[in-house]
């Protein structure tokens, strides 16, 4: 058993190492670093959405709304008040968390398709609000965002993003394995049993939305800082569906699954953009194949790889 744990740690270490040396592997190429940052932003969003969909069983097709909200929170507040980045990023999360109450509270009473449609409505409305509330968002023109002096270099900010992603992954994994994470799964599996074990279902459902939105808001904030610009078209309904697709394809209720899905869906456009229309076709096919043949997601292939080894370990150990 110990060996497996060590292996898992080893993989984590290798991934972290890869993230840290990545800029040098690609010779500080702006394109590849942006691709990597996009992956990180999607990784955070997918992990946060997985908390909601995979663990909590509450579907959301409005995550893009949270990304936009986080991005605009950073852009607007840095313009109006010039707050420093280490306050602004968490604040973007908090503001997005508060905004999520708009759907988190009604979500307590909605289920399945109805919840999906309600969250989709939320996701659709955010770009419209951004477009039309010109005094705050400058409408169609968007807002540019300046990074602070000491982080103006892409390499420095690249590490901020990598660091934030790792910290959020750690926090979400802590939440998932805690009593709170179990309460989420309990609500997904049986609300009745959850209630009679003392879980306040309405409270925890709202909590799921707030936590999920908090992290997605931070991801939106990182996006705004990295690309230096937010506009109403940045994240739309397709983004929401894409993030949901990442979670389903990578693996529901799995943090590595969310990471795999996010990386995959960031890489697919990189290879297919030359061929017009191919990106969506390939992503669509991937989703269909996974749902039909492997509903546990890509991450379940890893489980299979590990399991014979595990059996040996158990036998050897006993």
């Amino acid at each position: 058993m110990k060996k497996i744990l060590e292996n898992k740690k080893l993989y984590q270490l290798l991934i972290i190492l890869f993230m840290l040396v990545f800029p040098f592997l690609v010779g500080n190429s702006g394109y590849f670093m942006s691709l990597f940052v996009t992956a990180c932003i999607f990784i955070i969003s997918a992990m946060a959405l997985n908390l909601l969909v995979g663990y909590g069983g509450q579907i959301s097709v409005g995550q893009a709304g949270f990304l936009s909200a986080g991005g605009y929170a950073v852009a607007i507040l840095s313009h109006k008040f010039g707050l420093p980045i280490w306050i602004l990023l968490p604040l973007a999360g908090v503001i997005t968390g508060i905004i999520s109450l708009v759907i988190g509270l009604p979500a307590v009473r909605l289920r399945g398709h109805f919840l999906a449609v309600a969250t989709m409505g939320f996701g659709l409305s955010i770009p419209q609000i951004a477009l039309n509330w010109e005094s705050l968002t400058r409408g169609y023109n968007g807002i540019s965002v300046m990074r602070p002096q000491w982080l103006s270099g892409d390499l420095a900010f690249f590490y901020v993003i990598v660091g934030t992603t790792l910290v959020i992954a750690w926090i979400i994994s802590n939440i998932v394995k805690s009593g709170m994470g179990r309460a989420f799964v309990a609500i997904r599996d049986s609300e009745i049993a959850a209630q009679s074990t003392g879980i306040h279902v309405a409270f925890y459902k709202t909590m799921m939305f707030v936590i999920s939105a908090f992290f997605t808001g931070i991801a939106g904030g990182l996006y705004a800082y990295w690309f230096g610009y937010v506009s109403p078209q940045d994240f739309n309904i397709l983004t929401s569906l894409l993030i949901l697709g990442m979670v389903v394809v990578g693996g529901l209720a799995s943090i590595p699954g969310a990471v795999i899905g996010a990386v995959l869906f960031t890489l697919i456009p990189h290879f297919t953009d030359k061929f017009i229309g191919m990106t969506n076709i390939i992503i669509g096919i991937a989703i269909i194949l996974i749902i039909m043949y492997r509903s546990e997601g890509i991450v379940s292939f890893l489980d299979r790889l590990k399991s014979p080894e595990q059996d040996d370990q158990v036998k050897g150990g006993v």
């Binding site: 926090i171 802590n174 939440i175 805690s178 009593g179 709170m180 179990r182 309460a183 799964v185 309990a186 997904r188 599996d189 049986s190 009745i192 049993a193 959850a194 209630q195 009679s196 074990t197 003392g198 879980i199 306040h200 279902v201 909590m207 936590i211 209720a253």
Partner: protein, 258 residues
Amino acid sequence: MLNFENVVVQFAGLTAINDLSFDVSEGKIHSIIGPNGAGKTTVFNCISRFYTPNQGSITFSGKDLLKLKPHQVIREGIARSFQNVELFSKMTVMDNLLTGLHPILKRNIFFISLNLPSVRRSEAESRKKAYEVMELLGVRHLANEKVSNLSFGYQKMVDIGRAMMVNPKLLLLDEPVAGMNPVETDQISELILRLKNEMNYTILLIEHDMSLVMKVSDDVTVMNFGQKIAEGTPGEVQNNPVVIEAYLGELDSDVKAD
């Protein structure tokens, strides 16, 4: 300890429970028996606060249960198992039991996020407690098994185990041996007696298996069509002609519950 007084529950004209009164005394095993559809599970669902009676009162140690929401009931010391097993099917046995500890677990989101030592300590204590309960139920070897992979008998055990995690004062068991084989039934009846004798649980039991009811019960309430038709010790009840009639439709001298 638990007190039902003139409780009436109606669903759109159908009277599920009609003017039901009974008392569960502390430290006793109290069984509710009756034909299917007699309203037994409705009694449990009132205690769990999934249903609210149209009339009457339900008190527990003098406290009005009807003022509570479903998730608050367990904090008063009332835990339950379910007739059709309501487990968290994709969790392991361990996680199911740990979820049973929810009412007393640390809930500070910041502590949890940072996995502070206090959180890890309470998690370790919870696991210890879960192993104790598993030991008692004889399912320790299944700790890391997903409950959806277990047989129905084991699932029932886990369901009961989850209710035991918080050391409730009153344990509600809804047909604990339904679908179990005789060996498992014996295990459960021994467990129920141990819970009473060694751990001072008060138990309210719904059961169709008369051998179990007769073996473990101190008091029996018999229900039919939502009403209480008899009450007393197992011996009194099984010789009561009204009870026999309710079960079999007519008097028959052959019938003495086995």
